[in-house]
Amino acid sequence: MLELKGIRKVFNKGTPDENVLFDGFDFTVEEGEFVSIVGSNGSGKTTLLNLISGTVQPEAGKILLRGQDITAQREFVRARRIGRVFQDPAGGMANNMTVAENLAIAENKGRAYGLSAGLNKRRVEAYRELLRPLGLGLEMRMNVPVGALSGGQRQLLTLLVATMTPIDVLLLDEHTAALDPKTAEQTMELTDRIVREKKITTLMVTHNLRFAEQYGTRLCMFDKGQVVLDAAGEEKAQKRVDDLLALFNAISVECGN
């Protein structure tokens, strides 16, 4: 469903700091898979997401989404089929705009943004009903600027915003890393529920080995631009956090960390 073929990505090209991260890198994600990706810093996890979303361009190789070559498409064009949640809770929403206004923008994704009214009472009511099940009391704060909400509330909202309209792929870039343990747990539960309900193909980068083990249908560990562990289905179910940690430490020792 999502294929990366023969990807080459070099950072600081032409300088003494030149760093070849991916060279002839292949990666395939099947329809409906929920892939958890772990790995140390600089292993290429986030770059993988950036390549898929179009934030960075590969030097060589192709990226196919449902068989269509999207390598040459600009980021905002790809975004019509891809949703993304960032680590920084301030990253996914317009923070000076209200909760209702942000939801209105998200709901209209894929359609024209013309001169009709952005919001009306009926829509605001519908958004209230959408937020009520979260149990955060956000349904009472529709006219509060998003920037005034807590990081956790914003991240849950961003998750809703990213998945409000039908998308082919959801990219989660350490989206629980900036949250306290309880909120992180809550965010992961909501993530899992949305991904299951809407059957969205998902790639989740995380530093939390327990989340990687507990959630998702496939688990990948990255190291220096290589996939060193790739387990799906039964094989993934047998992996324990300790196994992951052991492998992780082994890699880190190799790196001299």
Partner: protein, 308 residues
């Protein structure tokens, strides 16, 4: 009588700069784009209006054309920034510099005078009124235009397109995530802003019944001061809209400027404008507010000490 005349001048110029402020509000506050092309588009609106009027064009049409001339200049700044990837500040300076020549070429000289033609601020109806009454009638006409611009802008910012324009300045990533190109919205914002500024320029020329090439100097600084004062006011008096704040800010600014000019003479105008801008910026950063509070607290403490 002197006071009444001074007051009407403050209101006339205050409201004209309120319109400039509404334009600059779009770029500075909504798009977070420091647009300096305003110094060129304000006189551009004036010169286009003046030349058309002299050529026999009715004033409403001339005003409309000046709006579009300004919008085109704003689009030029946008294209420089978005397509050629030139820094926003520099893109504005380039447009502003180029417009000095463009304005001169359109005017065919440094000045255009149209004292005989009918305009919004000089027509048969106003000529029939006593001087003071005519001045306040002019204030009323300008105010109508201010309200029209403000209401239309407020309405636009509440449409879907307006939402995305605001999101572009707030968090461009959100606009990208929605599958839209932020470049488009930057260009729309710059066009709209400079169109409004040019409209104000045409009004300024009607106020002085002539076009003068120097009329644009310092427009950006004046307008930014109005916008900043306005947004500080609106922040403290909720639920006042920012746009209402900008209009009030422009009046306050012009009142202060007029008093300062009366005391020091018009030779000091630009110096006063510059110093006032520094004061406004210090207010915006909260430096003045904190200092005043500190002084106040110290005096209170000393007062308390004296009592004990």
């Amino acid at each position: 009588m002197f006071f009444l005349n001074q007051m009407s001048t403050i209101l006339q110029l205050g409201f004209i700069y309120a319109i400039v402020g509404l334009g600059v509000f779009i770029t500075y506050k909504i798009l977070d784009f420091p647009d300096l092309s305003v110094d060129g588009t304000f006189p551009l609106g004036g010169v286009v209006f003046s030349v058309l009027l002299v050529a026999g064009c009715p004033w409403p049409v001339a005003m409309l054309v000046s709006f579009f001339a300004g919008a085109a200049a704003g689009l030029a700044t946008g294209l420089l920034h978005v397509k050629l990837r030139i820094n926003g500040l520099l893109a504005g300076i380039i447009t502003m510099t180029a417009l000095v020549s463009v304005n001169y070429l359109i005017a065919g000289g440094p000045q255009v005078s149209f004292a005989q033609s009918d305009t919004l601020l000089s027509n048969g109806f106003l000529d029939g009124l006593p001087r003071v009454a005519a001045n306040y009638m002019q204030v009323f006409f300008i105010l109508l235009l201010v309200v029209l611009c403000k209401v239309l802008l407020d309405l636009f910012l509440k449409t879907k397109a307006g939402f995305l324009l605001r999101a572009t300045g707030d968090n461009p990533q959100l606009v990208t995530q929605m599958g839209k190109n932020t470049d488009t919205y930057k260009m729309i914002g710059l066009s709209l802003a400079n169109g409004i500024v040019a409209l104000a320029g045409s009004l300024y020329c009607q106020y002085s019944a002539s076009y003068n090439a120097n009329m644009g100097t310092g427009t950006v600084v004046i307008a930014l001061a109005c916008v900043i004062i306005g947004c500080v006011i609106a922040k403290h008096i909720r639920p006042m809209a920012n746009t209402t704040g900008v209009v009030i800010g422009a009046l306050i600014y012009y009142a202060i400027l007029s008093v300062a000019m009366l005391l020091l003479g018009s030779d000091y105008t630009r110096l006063i404008v510059a110093v006032l801008f520094v004061v406004v910026l210090l207010f915006d950063t909260g430096l003045i507010g904190r200092t005043v509070k500190k002084l106040f607290r110290r005096r209170k403490k000393e007062g308390g000490d004296a009592r004990t």
